[in-house]
Structure formats: structure tokens, C-alpha cells
Symmetry: C2
């Protein structure tokens, strides 16, 4: 086993076990522990409805310090009233007890079906087992244990040098439905052994999330349990990063690599997805215009089913841009599928259907709209919309 | 044959024929003619991208007078540049020539695939045949000829008395994909023999559209060809309605009946739909809150696939409300499936799953969210999301 994902940086161990919350016996409880208290930052769902475990963590991470993260899958601990808040507090209590840290340094999360209480007996026994199995090789096990409808685990790592020290960054993420950019978009735990202040860590996380996690859409739904949390334990022993500058930028770049890798995995593993779509808007007059157009295209079921059907129906892409609410001139827009131009200045071209099909058969497709109105560009990742999306979501609860 | 739909009111004839635009030989050209020039009003797509036929009609209906409407299916006449504008002008010229009216009194529309030019030879020959077949029984044929992926024709009628005269209203509509409330949501032609000023007709149409056509969502996409047009030819010989008052209200009520009937048909026939969903928000503090929440629920693929799967996954409904952007207190919300309460004050209830399944098995399901914050209520119609939606839209162009 190699050190990967959240256990790639020094001083982190992790575990993932099956505690019985999932009926099928799959792993459903992940723990990530830092050897020492770490600077911590998080971004949480903007949904008005918030899960109880998420609410607990959102409140306590404000201290800027965390030692341990525990996430269960199989039950969202959401919409169960005061019982849910109490269960979250007890969950955090168990976790901090095992970790030997103040309860404020325990981050918890829950993902799964909404409206059912957590089975606290299973959580307690599960945590006992998970803490016994904590290992520097445990990143993979933790990544597996947070999966819900994900079809593959999502881990990423990066490293860079600072003051002659090697700094590592790692993380895992889970999707894969109810995904749409609205601050945090799913659950991801990131770790680094960088020495950085909580304030700068928070700034780095927000900067990176806007270019990665907030650029992924699977179905336009944002869940009540979405969060991205990062722990930085300082064990790389670099000089503390406590201001902007080249050191901070180097960290943001590397963290961005990890976050973009995880984000593309989330889109590629969107429920029922057969293709990863990278949507690009170029020549936009301002960032808002580019973002609004990308958002509309990424959410359009008509666009997404056309890609599933390998149908070069670019009219739907332009149509989605048209109703996005963005202001642009349709008569200057070029549309590209891969490198193939199919629409120039808002007018359909008699393009080579064979060449289009060759692009559409790829598992990774780039779609570009050039508005020719300015110099701003942006991109977003999404996936196609298949029979399996309907199948997966028509019977999720049962 | 009975007088139905657009030919239910006096002084209207209609026809629907196959002119060869549809590869499968189905009817694809509809004409509706008023014996005399009629007051006219229209609502057109808010999409920045607009079809060429639609642009023509949008500009010319401002005169407030129309004699004839012609709609082709099979080709949207959209995104083909100046050729499309020229084709639209020629199309209108053909129509007015046959009708014997000024070209400004000809309303035209095109629906179908985007990015291909109209075959003007087929249109011209088709119009010749259609005008020969015009009949007071032709409402049905016209309703059939505007269908694209619709699985059944959509006609409705209503009548009321004014000044001792019987006033009739009729109409047809076509769906059934790319449907979402954003002013006009599909193509519908309405007729009445009421005598009314163009100004008041426009006002009545806008009032009614906001309670009917603008309350239907199939997939959140709005097309580039959406329009609702109404012609009022005055042949009921009532005293001209030229101001608000009881006469105007009586007309709005009856027109609302026709428009709501057509709107529910559109939702029921949403692409791949197996169920009609009536979404209600009650106890909202203001209309905007109710509308925004309904909008988000109606667009959520997770909600819609759950209904297809007959899964009482109310958590997704509350979640969609939560990310809608509306401000409300999740801890006071009740959720009902039919008459069955499944969530009280934001908390899941241990409801009877058998009773829930009995509701979910119906072909028409009412879902109610009571926010308990005020006295405003609103409703919207949508449908479930099935394998067939993906099938239909994965291969539409071919």
C-alpha cells in the first residue's frame, strides 16, 4: 500500500470501515487524523436546509483548528429535528474522545438518505474499529468509505518545494449526484503538511474552490451535506505562511491541481455518466457572463442527453446560452465540438457529420462557445445524462 | 367532425396537412384563418436566441391586427442567419397571399430542429393545399400538424355569456420538450369571437399566461421558437371590451380555463412523462418566494426521477426548495404527497409507506409545501423524468 490521498502528507493517518449503516455492507465510515492539531478551514453548502452533522462542523471549524475528521455515508443525518443536532454532538464527542482532542477540534460529516436518524450504536462501534485501524496507508480506505453512488474512489495528491522543504497536499472527494456549483458541491477532505495560518488556509481554499469544486455540475442540485474541509498540520516545517506572496501562490497552485483533479473525477463519475464534458466560454465581456452561460449549458438536460446520444445538436447548446440570462449577441457566437467548428456567427455550418461523431465518441469532450465580445474565459465540468441517471435516482431510497 | 379548439369560436377555419418537412410523413403545416381581421396579441420567448419566423411575427403583431396564422413543424427556421430572415418574410408573403390580407396580418411560426433552412418549395406547395382544405372543423387537423415530440394533440375550449351573446374561446398547443416558464413556453394559438380591443386582449393574454403557460416546466429549457398568440375576431357581436371591468374579468376567467387546460396537457405530455405533477407552495410570505421554490422543485432531476421511480423521497423536494434561493425557515415546513403528510416542521415523519405508494402510483400527483410564513400560494405543473426522456432526446436530430 502506498501513502495516497489524505495520507500523502506527513503526519496524517486514516481508516475506512463498514459499520453497518449501508444495507449492502459496504464501507461507510471514514476517519482522518492528524498527529498534531492542524490549521483548518471549510466551505459549506449554501442550501437553506442544512444537515445536522454539517451544521455542527460549520460552527466549530470557526476556531481555525482541527485534529480529526470523521464522515459516515449511508445516512445524511438531515431533517430529523433536534434529535439530529443531538446526534451530531454525540458523534463529535465520540470522535474527539477517540482522538484525544477537544470536541471543537473534531470535524464530522454525514451523507446519504435524508430524513432518517443516525444509528448511534453503529457509529460508536464503528469509530472504535476505525480508530484501531488508522494507518498512514489508510487514505484509500477512507476514500472508499465516503462513497455513495460513486462508481470509483476519488483521490489526488500534489507536492511542491518551499524553503527547501517538500510540502505535500492530498485529498479525497465523493459525489456523485446533487452536484452543482453553489460554494461547496459535495464532500471533499483535503490535507497538507504545510505550515500556514488558519486565515491564509481559508483564503487559499476559497480561491481554489472557485476554480474547481464550484465549476462542477452533474444535475444542478446542491445537497444539504456539501462541504470541503482542509487540514494543514505544519509537519513539513516550512516557515509559517501567514501572508500573500510567492509561497502562498505556490500553495494555491498545487492545491488547485489537487482540487481540479478531484473535480474532474466528480464530473466523470456523475450519476450514470458515460462522458466527461469540459465546457468553455471564451471571448466573454466579463466573468459573470461566462459563468452564467456555463451554468445554463451544464444544467440543460437537453444538452446532456444529446451528448449521451452522440448527437451533434449544437442548437441546444446555443439555446441554453440564450436563456441563461446572460446578455450577448447570438450573431457573433462560434460553437466548437472539440476542434470542429459547427456554428459560426450564430449560423449553423454544413459540418462533416463523420468528424463530429468522431469527437462525440470520445469519453472526454470539450465544448467551446466563443462570444467574441471580450477577453474573459471560464470553464466548467459536467457529464452526459443517460438512462442510468434515471435508473439510479428512481430507486435511491430503497 | 365537431368544431373544436381554434375553430370552436365563430368565424375561424383551420387546416393541417403534411407538406414533407417531417421525414416520417406526419402532418407538419397548420393554418388558422379568421373570416375577418381580428385583434391580435402575442407573447414571445425571452431567449436571447430567437427563431427567424418568430422574430418576424414578434415584430408584425405590434400592429394589433391579424387575419391568419401558419405554423410549420419539422424545422425551427432558427440559427441560419440572414437566409432565415428572408425565408420568414417569404413564408409570411405566401400566407398573406393565400389569405388575401396585408402581409402584416400574417402570423407565422416554425418549430423543430435548429440550424437548418426551411424548404420553401415544400412550404409553398403545402400552403396551397392547406388553404384549399380550410374548414370550420379543421381545429383538430391544425392541432395535429404542430406536434413535434408530442404524443397527443392538445386542444381546449370554453364559452361564456356577455351582453346576452355567447362568446367562445378555443385553442391548441404543442410541447413537449424545452419547456420552462420564461414568458412563453411553447407554441399555442388561441382564438375567440369576442369583440375586444387589441390593448385589452394583450392585457388578458399576459394575465392568463402568468397563471398557466408560465407555470409549466418539463425540463427547464426554453426554446427559441416559443410563442402564444391570440386572435379575437369580434364575431360574437358583444359590445367592444375596451377597459377593465366585469366583462373583461369574465373573459380572463374563461381564457384562463382554456390556458390552464392546455398547460396541464403540456406537462402531462412532457417528453417521456408517465405522471402529471401539480406542485403547490402554500403559506409563502410573498409571490416571489413561492415562485422561486416551485421553479427549483419543478427543475430538479432528482425530484423528477424519484417520482418516476414512485419513491417517496421527500428529502429531495425540501432540498430543492433549500437551494432555490428563496429565504424561508426549513424548521416550519410541512410536506404533503397528495393528502399524506410526510414531513412536519422540517422533520421527517414515520409515514405509512403503503399509503405513500398509493399516492405515487397515481398518474396525477399533488405535492404541497406549506411554509407557514404567510398567506400567498402558487402552483406549477411538471412531470416525472423517465428513461424515455433520455431516449427521446438522445437521438432527436437523427
Amino acid at each position: 500500500m502506498a501513502r495516497s490521498g489524505v495520507t500523502a502528507p506527513q503526519g496524517f493517518s486514516a481508516a475506512g470501515i463498514a459499520c453497518g449503516l449501508k444495507k449492502n455492507g459496504n464501507p461507510d465510515l471514514a476517519v482522518v487524523l492528524s498527529d498534531v492539531p492542524a490549521a483548518a478551514a471549510g466551505i459549506f453548502t449554501t442550501n437553506v436546509v442544512k444537515g445536522h452533522s454539517l451544521k455542527w462542523s460549520r460552527e466549530h471549524i470557526r476556531s481555525g483548528l482541527a485534529r480529526v475528521v470523521a464522515i459516515n455515508s449511508g445516512c445524511a443525518n438531515a431533517c430529523v429535528g433536534e434529535d439530529g443536532d443531538r446526534d451530531a454532538a454525540v458523534f463529535a464527542g465520540f470522535v474527539s474522545g477517540h482522538a484525544g482532542c477537544p470536541v471543537e477540534q473534531a470535524v464530522i460529516g454525514s451523507t446519504g438518505v435524508i430524513g432518517y436518524r443516525l444509528d448511534m450504536e453503529k457509529i460508536e462501534k464503528g469509530l472504535e474499529a476505525a480508530f484501531q485501524q488508522l494507518s498512514p496507508d489508510g487514505g484509500i480506505a477512507a476514500a472508499l468509505a465516503v462513497m455513495t453512488t460513486d462508481t470509483f474512489k476519488k483521490e489526488a495528491e500534489a507536492a511542491f518545494e518551499l524553503d527547501g522543504k517538500l510540502v505535500r497536499i492530498g485529498g479525497f472527494a465523493k459525489g456523485s449526484g446533487m452536484i452543482h456549483p453553489n460554494m461547496a458541491t459535495m464532500i471533499s477532505i483535503l490535507t497538507t503538511d504545510l505550515s500556514i495560518s488558519a486565515e491564509m488556509l481559508d483564503k487559499a481554499l476559497r480561491t481554489v474552490a472557485n476554480r474547481s469544486f464550484n465549476r462542477v455540475s452533474v444535475d444542478g442540485d446542491t445537497s444539504v451535506c456539501d462541504k470541503v474541509v482542509i487540514l494543514a498540520n505544519g509537519m513539513a516545517r516550512n516557515k509559517l505562511v501567514d501572508r500573500e506572496g510567492p509561497e502562498f501562490e505556490a500553495f494555491v497552485d498545487s492545491l488547485g491541481t489537487v482540487a481540479v483533479t478531484l473535480s474532474k473525477m466528480l464530473a466523470r463519475d456523475g450519476e450514470g455518466a458515460t462522458k466527461l464534458l469540459e465546457l468553455r466560454v471564451e471571448g466573454a465581456p466579463d466573468p459573470e457572463t461566462a459563468h452564467v452561460i456555463l451554468n445554463a449549458i451544464a444544467k440543460s438536460p437537453l444538452v446532456k442527453t444529446a451528448f449521451f446520444g452522440q448527437d451533434a445538436n449544437w442548437g441546444r447548446i446555443l439555446t441554453a446560452a440564450g436563456y441563461s440570462g446572460a446578455s450577448f449577441n447570438p450573431d457573433t457566437v462560434d460553437v466548437f465540438l472539440g476542434n470542429l467548428i459547427v456554428c459560426r456567427n450564430g449560423m449553423g455550418l454544413r459540418f462533416d457529420e463523420e468528424a463530429a461523431l468522431a469527437v462525440l465518441k470520445q469519453q472526454e469532450i470539450t465544448v467551446t462557445l466563443d462570444l467574441k465580445l471580450g477577453s474573459v474565459s471560464d470553464r466548467m465540468w459536467t457529464c452526459d445524462f443517460s438512462y442510468d441517471y434515471v435508473k439510479i435516482n428512481g430507486s435511491y431510497r430503497s
